[in-house]
């Protein structure tokens, strides 16, 4: 199954051609942006979505527009460096834009690349069935695919569940109370949900991830 509808299109992009157009005339620069949009719209948006899990779809589109405008302006101002590979540059801008957007919207700073977070993850997995399953999968070099399964399960959740899951992920290794999750969701989305709604969304989110992992054969079904 194809997870991102833009995968086929993206493979057809001629990055060298786009790079050359970006250092060309104004019309050629516009053509370059058109080509990037044509071939990479879904891929760039996917990068944004995977960083900014809780954004509404319209906001993902806004960030995507900012990425295109950033590239266009870099080209117009003669700051685009055609000697560097295009795709890593475009994808880096997309990732930076998404991180910038979530930092602006969040009450608390996201813990990025923090060693303590990684230690906490390792600690939480130790001596658990979930951790045992993870260990088996890593030993089979299938870890990235399992991580992709989890990301997919979260991104495809209904909006409210996704928002709650994103707060838990962003604040990890903190264990925010339902009230804290509620406040953070409200800050990010402007929606003032009840604690009960947050609790229900959290339960459903966890349930869906577990179900998805069971469905993919990574974990055994619970007997309870």
């Amino acid at each position: 199954m194809q997870d991102n509808p833009g995968m086929k299109e993206a493979a057809r992009l001629d990055a060298d051609e786009v790079s050359i157009l970006l250092i060309g005339t104004e019309e050629e620069q516009n053509d370059a942006i058109r080509l990037i949009d044509k071939y990479l719209r879904f891929v760039i948006s996917g990068i944004i979505r995977n960083v900014a899990i809780y954004l509404k779809s319209e906001e993902v589109q806004e960030v995507y527009q900012e990425v295109l405008l950033g590239l266009w302006r870099a080209a117009r101002d003669g700051r685009y460096d055609a000697d560097r590979p295009l795709l890593p540059f475009v994808f880096t801008i997309a990732r930076c834009r998404a991180i910038d957007r979530i930092r602006r919207k969040s009450l608390r700073k996201r813990k990025i690349g923090n060693e303590l977070v990684l230690d906490a993850i390792a600690g939480a997995l130790a001596d658990t069935k979930v951790g045992e399953a993870w260990g088996n999968i890593v030993s089979k070099n299938d870890g990235p695919r399992m991580m992709a399964t989890i990301r997919k399960a979260i991104i495809r959740m209904p909006e409210r569940q996704r928002q709650v899951a994103s707060v838990m992920i962003d604040l990890y290794p903190e264990e925010p109370s339902l009230q804290e999750i509620r406040e953070e969701v409200c800050q990010r989305t402007g929606e003032d949900l009840t604690v009960l709604a947050i609790k229900s969304a959290r339960r459903e989110a966890r349930k869906k991830i577990r179900e998805e992992l069971v469905r993919a054969g990574y974990m055994e079904r619970k007997n309870d």
């Binding site: 509808p5 833009g6 995968m7 993206a10 051609e17 050359i20 157009l21 250092i23 050629e28 058109r34 949009d37 719209r41 879904f42 891929v43 996917g46 990068i47 979505r49 960083v51 899990i53 779809s57 993902v60 589109q61 995507y64 900012e66 295109l68 405008l69 266009w72 302006r73 700051r79 460096d81 055609a82 000697d83 560097r84 590979p85 795709l87 890593p88 540059f89 994808f91 990732r95 930076c96 834009r97 991180i99 990025i112 690349g113 993850i121 939480a124 658990t128 979930v130 992709a148 989890i150 990301r151 495809r156 909006e159 838990m168 992920i169 990890y172 290794p173 966890r206 991830i209 577990r210």
Partner: protein, 141 residues
């Protein structure tokens, strides 16, 4: 009675432990995605081969942007340069930061004039264009 209680306590504690482990996996799944580091060529290839997933609403919204989406975006950017306001500076800085990150460890490899000319030549060959006045201007010592 005590055994039942302690049994329930143990069960509840186990459940909580497994739940925390699941939360840890959720956090782990997104750690690689939010690194502040630049995307490498290898990562870019991996992204193309296995594109990041979108929500069904995202897919619908993006598919519905329409054929004139980029033209309208560029027209509005061209005619109203102040539209971005303070965001413009942030976007500019971001471009610089992305380059700085990509150049890290590659000092001394800046694009020199000769390389620029070669790129320009390649561009013109690809587009089948004659040499322009601008290029001559660029050739000035």
């Amino acid at each position: 009675m005590q055994d039942i209680w302690s049994g329930r306590m143990t069960e509840s504690s186990e459940h909580s432990k497994e739940q925390k482990a699941l939360d840890a996996l959720m956090a782990a799944a997104f750690r690689a995605e939010d690194a502040d580091s630049p995307v490498t060529e290898e990562e870019a290839r991996a992204i193309l081969e296995n594109s990041p997933v979108l929500s069904p609403e995202d897919e619908k919204g993006l598919a519905g942007l329409g054929p004139d989406f980029v033209d309208n975006l560029l027209v509005s950017a061209d005619t109203d340069t102040s539209a971005l306001g303070e965001r413009r500076q942030v976007l500019d800085r971001e471009i610089e930061d992305a380059y700085a990150a990509m150049h890290r460890g590659k000092e001394g490899e800046e694009l020199d004039e000769k390389s620029r000319r070669e790129i320009e030549k390649k561009r013109r060959e690809l587009l089948g264009e004659p040499e322009s006045g601008n290029e001559k201007e660029d050739d000035r010592p």
